[in-house]
Structure formats: C-alpha cells, structure tokens
C-alpha cells in the first residue's frame, strides 16, 4: 500500500484546496495560519505541513506567488502607479514589494510592466482568467531563505505571517 506521505486523504485535500482557493480569491488580505487552518478544518499544528505536502509549496510562499501574479497583471493591464499596485496586492511598504518582486521574478516591477505589454497581443485569444494563472511565477527557490541571507535589516510582516 502507498504510504501516508505520498497519499493524503482526498477529503483532507479537498479542504486544503478550499484554503488555497480563499488565498487565491483575496491574496491581498492577511492569511495567518490560524485563519487558513480554520478554513480547512485542520489543526494549526498540521496545516502548513499538510498544505506543503499537498501543493508542494508552503502556504506563505504560495500567497507570495499569488500576490506577485496579481501585481504582474496590474502592471500589464493598468496604468496604476507601482506604489498603488504594491498596496492593492497586500504589501505594507513599497520597498518590501520591490524586493520580493525582484526575488521572485528576477526583474523590477517596471521592467516587467514594459515587457508584458509587448507580448499582450499574442495571448488575446486565451480567457483572461486562465492567462493570469499561466503567468503565475514559479517559485523554485525559497524566498524566505534568500531574504534572510541578503536582508537582515528588512522587516517583512507579509512574508512571515502565515509561516
């Protein structure tokens, strides 16, 4: 039989998916672990581990990818100032937003804005909601680790809130 590590109970997975969906729907909000655990009907102690097991990424990192995804869409689709985009997508300071954005995408928000506008035309036939998901940043390195290495001075409540 398959072991417990690779096969989580589908009923649990369905409830964890609900927490993921809620972060998707409101990634600008704060998602402390107790809030997510409540959505999933899982104890706080087990939530983060179960989530990572299910989706391959810890919940706080998942939230960061969603915020960057939304910010990228706003950079591409609107003329909003970058400061407004930072606050709308859940960051509490422009500096934190810019640093996290560069950590994840490797580019500055303004560079992404310039480039995204160049390719917008070719994606016009795919439903917009799906394009957005397809352009989700793929987090292969631990943002929190990179951050720790390079930025002791930075206080970043957003990055830590659901750990």
């Amino acid at each position: 039989m398959a072991d417990d590590f690779t096969h989580q109970d589908p009923e649990l997975l369905r409830r964890l998916l609900r927490a993921k969906d809620r972060m998707d729907a409101a990634s600008h909000e704060r998602w402390p672990v107790q809030r997510l655990a409540r959505v999933s009907g899982v104890s706080e102690a087990h939530f983060a581990r179960s989530f990572k097991q299910a989706f391959g990424v810890p919940p706080h990192r998942y939230l960061l990818t969603r915020r960057i995804e939304r910010a990228t869409a706003l950079l591409r689709d609107t003329d909003l100032p970058i400061t407004d985009i930072a606050f709308q997508t859940g960051w509490e300071s422009l500096g934190t937003f810019g640093r996290t954005f560069r950590d994840i995408t490797g580019e500055s928000p303004s560079a992404v804005r310039d480039r995204a506008r160049g390719v917008a035309q070719s994606l016009a036939r795919v439903p917009a909601c799906i394009v957005s998901a397809a352009q989700r940043p793929d987090l292969t390195t631990a943002v929190s680790e990179k951050r720790r290495r390079e930025a002791d001075a930075i206080t970043d409540a957003d990055d830590k809130e659901v750990r």
């Binding site: 096969h7 998916l17 917009a128 909601c129």
Partner: protein, 137 residues
Amino acid sequence: MSQGVQVVGLYVRDQDEALAFYVDKLGFRVHTDVRNGEYRWLTVQHPEQPAFQLGLFAPGPPVHDAATAQTLRAVVAKGAMPPLVLSVKDCRADYDRLLARGVEFTQEPVDRYGNVDAGFRDPSGIGWKMIQEGRRA
C-alpha cells in the same frame, strides 16, 4: 448525423453527489445512467447542448486498481484537473442564483475586457469558470 466530440468525462469522488450538483444546482439533465455491477456510466447534458455529454465517472474498480483510483481521487481533490468553462448569458444573475443554491464560488464575477467571469468548484474539487462573452464591436 453530425460528427464531433460527444462525451468528455470528469472524475468525481461520488457519483450521487456529482449528479445532485450538476442536475439540482447547475440545471443539467441526466442523459445516461446505467450500472453494471460496480460500474456506473453516468452522463449529464447542458439543456442547450444536446450533442454533448459530460461524463461523471468514479475512479475505482473495475477500471482502476486501488492505488490508481486513490491517485485520481487525490488529483481531483487538489483541484489539479484542468479548468472547465461554462458559457453563460448573464454571469452576475447566474452567480446570484447558484450562490443561493449553495454552490462553492472561488471567485465573484469580475469584468475583464468586456467579458464577465466567475469561478466555482464542484463538490469533488473540479474548477469551473463561468464566462459571459461581451458583445464584440
């Protein structure tokens, strides 16, 4: 007779639950519901789309061994199946109606480039986008 895709199947965690969802909540109709021992061929149809059937199939014997069935159930429950798109005339009205029936929405209606879209999941975890196409100039 016309040619084309006739049935596309989904894996659902429970066929009775899926049937109740697609028929009672979304307003689909049962096309075929036939059992042979443990196996149940169940398809539903959108009332305005008589040439297409959506199959609601349960992973398990006799088609799948236990480990494969478990994997399929997990994939569906994680929401990892590709998104489905339901075309509607009035996304906001349907959102209100379906929400009142207890459908689990993942995204409220949003205007995007003249279209309006919303998102919901079926009880198994399959994600749907509900899209109202805007009038093209």
